[in-house]
Amino acid sequence: MIVEASSGAATRRHLLDVDGLSRIEIERICDLAVEMREARAARAYRSLLEAETVGLAFYEGSTRTRVSFELAAKALGATVVDLGVAGSSVGKGESLVDTLRTLERTGVTTVVLRHAISGAPYLAARSTGLRIVNGGDGTHAHPTQALADALTLRERFGSLEGMTVAIVGDIGHSRVARSNLHSLVILGARVRLGGPPAWVRGFDGRPGVEVARSLAEALDGVDAVMTLRVQLERSAGNGVPSLREYTTRWGLDETRMRLAAPGAPILHPGPTNEGVELTAELANGPRSLIGRQVENGVPIRMAVLALVTGAA
């Protein structure tokens, strides 16, 4: 299922992005996540990964991804070590590859890697004997978030076949959007992108993807809407003149959401800037699936760890 790198002595499984997955594989991960959720509630499968040591190497800040990977690994009985980059040799200038090779020698078998530079997990996968799970790399990919989102939408709609999902915001700088573009299209949905021109540039013409010229066009009749965190430091001079202008033209609220299909849900990978990309009313209202996305993070990561390690 998951990408297999052929370099090195052993063929290992990694999850580097969702773009290499088939529809059947994504469905299987979602099915397994449902099973994992029940198992976790029943405190079952608690020794599934007891032979595994999972390292959390987060070179960039994270709350929900790191915590949910840690809980997922522990729920399956794995030993978990958090590299705690701030307190490690990384501060002494040790390179990524050297740090990961050190972890490997201490007995870590699988590493969840979060890194600010796109592609870092690819380097890690081919330069070490570790299994690598991408916990978010630069602006490239965030596969477990996309899988959690797929599960969330599947729970709501049963199937994504024929649906249209709008993604609104800074698509170009979003690893969540990039991975969701792949997974939503693989699952049979169409994706409509909306945002200031510089933030949606270059996505036109991809199979299953269209770019809207206005928020109204982006939302028109769509079945679900996903919006993204506006990177506060990116607003000035880099795509939009000001946050206020963004909110005025592209911010989501209950009134604007009425352009979408009746009852269309709102999703957001978090953390949200309420009052910027969406109103607090919308984020906390009946349309919101934001909490459910977080809840689905743990079982999805349980499923991914079980599959990557070959335990499931």
Binding site: V3, E4, A5, S6, S7, H14, L16, D17, D19, G20, S95, L96, V97, H115, I117, S118, G119, A120, Y122, L123, A125, R126, S127, D137, G138, T139, H140, A141, G172, R175, R178, G202, F203, R206
Partner: protein
């Protein structure tokens, strides 16, 4: 298989007869199989070769004027772990080059006459002639002009702040005006720093797919058009190095049509490789497909593919090849940029830009010739006599000249791997690939500098 060996410029002059070699001389466009004689380091008639002198059977081999590289980073002084003058010169001889022009971005930079002289002195016994390109500004800081005239007297053949474009139009005007008086060219690294800031690969569908920050083609074009406008005013020679975009090449073509003294070079990697290589493709530009390129788990985000200017779109690479064919591109120059592994086996954004090229330039050119994308005579001219002209030198295969030539087997293949390279570094995405073109003999200034 013969054991390869390197010679030095300080060795005794050579005497030998190359029997039945195909001689390609772009000076007069001749291309014929004949015997080629060298006596005491000078080209001579075959009858002048003394009895008992070595006779080299050269069936199937090609002899051409020695190659001249306009853009080489020798890394000495300052980064001798990556390359030295000696190892870089050996790599040059292995690649068929008899002259390399050393860029001044060493540590300290070559911004004073004594430093120019120091490099020339160190190179006296190397395997390749070394010419020095002096820095335009002190410390390459883009502020105060270095002593250009004194460096010219010390032997500098051109000036460049390579690595950066000159930052202001006013500075370019001042430099061109001054160099006009010296009769030497400015080698401009055409890249607008503000447009290129933060970028790590060519902007386009692949960069978008990979989530890497894209370098816009306008970063090159804006500087090229600025400099051409200033060269018109100054009436001075402008040489644009490592052009990588169709638009910039078109600007040069228009300037030349107006009779302006503007020249340019392109690198072998911008002719042969494309931005898809960053995702892991290893298809040459002339064989590229338009397929969406997903990052490859084994080769995706390879730091060896990080180079400045970044690898072009396939369309631009083909435009550059067309520019070589129609003569708009004067020279193929390597931008040989050695880096140790620790600068490359890092996340892509952190990788030092640049790849080695002296030992693979001919082979990439021959791969293009095999594919029908380039003509052999044009390739030879762009590697030899045309770059030499830009630094005011002549290369000739005429009787009476000091022998300066390369002999290569155009169809023999070799595998690019660290052990096969004379460079102290092996940073190239070509590692593991088999390429056509094996150099059998390099003769610089009458001395055998490489033989296999």
């Amino acid at each position: 298989m013969t054991v390869a060996r390197f010679g030095r410029l300080s060795d005794a002059p050579a005497t030998f007869l190359l029997a039945g070699v195909r001689v390609i001389d772009p000076n007069d466009g001749s291309d014929a199989v004949r015997n080629l004689a060298v006596v005491d380091g000078f080209l001579d008639v075959p009858a002048a070769v003394p009895p008992g002198a070595e006779r080299i059977e050269a069936d199937g081999l090609i002899a051409a004027p020695g190659f001249c590289d306009l853009h080489t980073h020798l890394r000495e002084p300052g980064a001798e772990g990556a390359e030295t003058i000696a190892s870089g010169a050996a790599a040059a001889a292995h690649g068929g080059f008899t002259t390399v022009c050393a860029m001044p971005n060493t540590d300290p930079p070559l911004d004073e006459p004594a430093r120019v002289g120091w490099v020339l002195e160190r190179a006296r016994e190397a395997a390749c002639r070394v010419r020095v390109i002096g820095a335009v500004t002190r410390g390459r800081a883009g502020e105060v002009l270095a002593d250009l005239g004194a460096m010219a007297e010390a032997g500098a053949v051109a000036f460049s702040d390579d690595g950066n474009a000159l930052p202001s139009p006013r500075l370019v005007r001042a430099v061109l005006g001054y160099l006009g008086g010296l009769g030497l060219p400015l080698f401009e690294h055409a890249e607008d720093a503000s447009l290129a800031a933060g970028s790590v690969m060519r902007a386009g569908p692949t960069a978008n797919r990979l989530g890497l920050s894209g370098w816009p083609v306008s970063a090159e074009l804006t500087v090229v058009e600025r400099d051409i406008a200033l060269a018109v005013e100054a009436g001075a020679r402008l040489h644009l190095t490592h052009l990588s975009t169709a638009g910039a090449l078109e600007a040069v073509r228009r300037a030349r049509a107006r009779g302006l003294p503007v020249t340019c070079d392109v690198t072998p990697h911008h002719l042969a490789m494309t931005d898809a290589w960053v995702a892991g493709s290893r298809r040459f530009a002339w064989a590229a497909s338009a397929d969406d390129v997903a990052p490859d788990a084994d080769r995706g985000y390879d730091g060896y593919c990080r180079v400045n200017p970044p690898l072009p779109s396939a369309g631009d690479a083909l435009a550059l090849l067309a520019g070589v064919m129609d003569g708009t591109v004067d020279a193929i120059a390597t931008d040989h940029a050695p880096h140790p592994p620790e600068r490359k086996l890092v996340p892509f954004d952190d990788a030092a830009p640049g790849l080695i090229g002296l030992e693979t330039a001919l082979s990439l050119g021959l791969a293009a010739v095999e594919a029908g994308a380039l003509d052999l005579g044009t390739l030879v001219a762009a590697l030899s006599i045309r770059p030499a002209e830009i630094i005011g030198e002549r290369r000739s295969l005429a009787i009476g000249q000091a022998a300066d030539l390369v002999v290569f087997d155009p169809t023999a293949r070799w595998r690019v791997e660290p052990a096969a390279l004379a460079s102290a570094s092996a940073n190239t995405p070509l590692l593991g690939m088999e390429l056509p073109g094996v150099v059998r003999l390099t003769v610089a200034d009458g001395r055998v500098t490489y033989r296999s």
